[in-house]
Amino acid sequence: MTLLAPSALVIAFYVLLVRLLAGYSIPVFRRYGASFVLSSVWNPGSASYGILPALMGTAVTSVLAAAIALPVSLSMVVFLNEYCPSIVARVVASVTTVMGGLPSIVYGLWGALVLPELLRSYVMVPLHKYLGFLPPFSCAPVSGWTFFTAGVLLAIMITPYMFSLVHEAYASVPRKYREALLAISARPYVIAREFIKMLWPAVIGALLLGLGRAAGETIAVSLVVGNVNAVPYCLFLPGQTISSLIANNFPEASSYPLMLNALYAAASVLLVVGMVLNIAGLALMSRWRSITG
């Protein structure tokens, strides 16, 4: 069947990808074992490679990005569909969808040059002053290049994607549901609540998409995250993510023994974690999908 040919291509690509990654990564895992993922020491000079800070950095920034993007995109969906006059809603929805495809290098440029100082002065300093007793805000923000900035930039980058997916799904809920809810005098917020409950698979799908994008984004993140191998016990520290680790070290990696292998191994770890997350999410979605029309 013609549909099998493209599947074969994807599988073939994965086979090659896995072979490439495994070829480079296996020596690292064989040599360091679990300490590769659990150690915080990254010292190429003494050939010690530990990616724990970077891994935690990817987790923290992606989760922060999703935590910001999800409520924002859902709010936008609800507002534009239930409360906003339809002409304005259509324009805003179009504009937002368009923003999602903004060339990521433009986000990177702006993120590197304009965002850090903005965030530091107007958001991080006040947060530290008033909410400093909470662990994530407990350290004084010295520069704008931090986990927090990376998370915010990623949130800005992924919100339109999430919005688009949920919005389109929301708009295609059959009329009869809306009519049924209106018949019992449901307020707009009730309609919104019911629709979103029905759209849970789309929301989860959007969340996965957002998380994935946030984890894989390389250039924009590496320009704002601070590039220091620090464990993210506080959001206002400069830090590292797996993709920024790779981006920073790749150019010179071949001059150190095993560094190239370590970078490939780091990418493999990220891929595996992502895969697991995706499979879990997809399983969740398919259970819901059979319930909705």
């Binding site: 010292n43 220091v228 150019p251 990696a253």
Partner: protein
């Protein structure tokens, strides 16, 4: 009415897309392409052009790009490109076969050179400088004197305040503020960082041991909360410029073009010198005698002699940057193109130097000519 508007927009968009597609296709399809001239698409004057693919170190890249642009104007049948990859990636792509010439700040390590002995050549093409820059409110127009030992202590986290007596004694005429120093280093593995840490080690070996020398060393000050890693030179420059009371090191061109303060560094002769074309060439001259006599030789130790060299006017934080070249190229056309490029740099390069770089001394330029001749000889011309 709305539908009419839709149709009009759709037609216009389609026309634009078709127009662009036609333009793209015409450029690729019939082989008509831009000649070496700057503005228009002109038919190639001879049969298909020769592509020379260069890439590697980002430090000399601006100078190489300026040279390449001028070179292509004089040689319209040769097309040269230079990719900004980093020295390590450049060298590894060179050995992969996907680059013809690699730019590398550090020379090939000894074991790599031995593996390819006789098949690979190196030539130093430029002298570059790393400068120490700082951002102290009120003092940015003042030149501070700093020594390797003091810098080592700062980057170790031992000296924490600007008015530390060890800094003050080098600058008796300046009132330094009592404020913590915000230390900036390179987050990525970088040749600039290697030069800086090598200098620290040579100037203050007991304070800065050789284990802390490298492209991405673990700076002791990194975990102190008053340090940050910048990505690339602009990252460091940005961090320094936006954080008062900070100190960092960048390539000279960055400090020049951004009007950043530049420190005078104590050289091996005990003088505090700022970077300038003269002080760079002075350092290069005293180091040139330690270079191999032929491009086929082993250059792996040459940075040791140029960083913290002798010479009373020498600026101590200098380094060679090299081009790594094959002896045998796959075609005569390629060999002739590379040879022409090398000869052009040797003859006309120093007339086209952009701010932030210094040309290599005359005797070193001879290496480029010799390399070009070796290539031509191997290709049988």
């Amino acid at each position: 009415m709305r539908d009419a508007l839709r149709i009009v927009v759709a037609v216009i968009t389609a026309l634009i897309i078709v127009g662009i597609a036609a333009a793209v296709a015409s450029v690729f399809g019939s082989g008509i392409g831009g000649g070496g001239n700057s503005r228009t698409l002109k038919p190639a004057t001879t049969s298909s052009p020769t592509y020379v693919k260069m890439g590697g170190a980002t430090f000399p890249a601006p100078q190489y790009l300026a040279w390449i642009k001028s070179f292509m104007r004089e040689h319209p049948s040769i097309r040269v490109s230079y990719e900004l990859l980093g020295s390590g990636a450049g060298v590894s792509r060179f050995f992969d076969g996907t680059l013809d010439v690699a730019g590398s700040d550090p020379p090939l390590p000894h074991d790599v050179w031995v593996k390819h002995e006789g098949k690979v050549m190196q030539v130093p093409t430029l002298v570059g400088a790393v400068v120490v820059t700082y951002n102290i409110p009120g003092l940015n127009h003042v030149t501070l004197n700093l020594s390797g030992k003091v810098l080592a202590l700062i980057y170790k986290g031992v000296i924490k305040y600007w008015d530390d007596p060890r800094i003050q004694e080098l600058n008796p005429a300046v009132k330094l503020p009592h404020h913590e120093i915000f230390v900036v280093f390179r987050a990525d593995a970088s040749g600039t960082q290697l030069i800086f840490t090598t200098f620290l080690h040579k100037a203050a070996p007991s304070t800065w041991p050789s284990t802390l020398v490298g492209k991405a060393p673990a700076f002791p000050v990194a975990g102190s909360g008053r340090a940050a890693g910048g990505k690339g030179n602009p990252g460091v420059a940005n961090l320094v410029m936006s954080n008062p009371y900070s100190i960092g090191f960048v390539e000279w061109s960055y400090a020049l073009e951004n009007n950043m303060s530049i420190a005078a560094i104590e050289n091996a002769a005990g003088n505090f010198v700022k970077p300038s074309t003269e002080s760079l060439i002075s350092a290069a001259r005293s180091a040139a005698k330690h270079l191999p006599r032929t491009p086929l030789g082993d250059f792996s130790k040459d940075e040791e002699y140029i960083i913290y060299p002798g010479g009373k006017d020498a600026y101590p934080l200098v380094a060679w940057t090299h081009l790594v070249i094959r002896v045998n190229y796959e075609s005569q056309a390629k060999a002739r193109a590379v040879a022409a490029l090398l000869k052009w740099i040797a003859e006309k390069g120093e007339l086209n130097i952009i701010p932030g770089y210094a040309p290599v001394p005359e005797n070193v330029r001879q290496l480029m000519v010799e390399a070009a001749n070796n290539i031509l000889h191997a290709a049988g011309s």
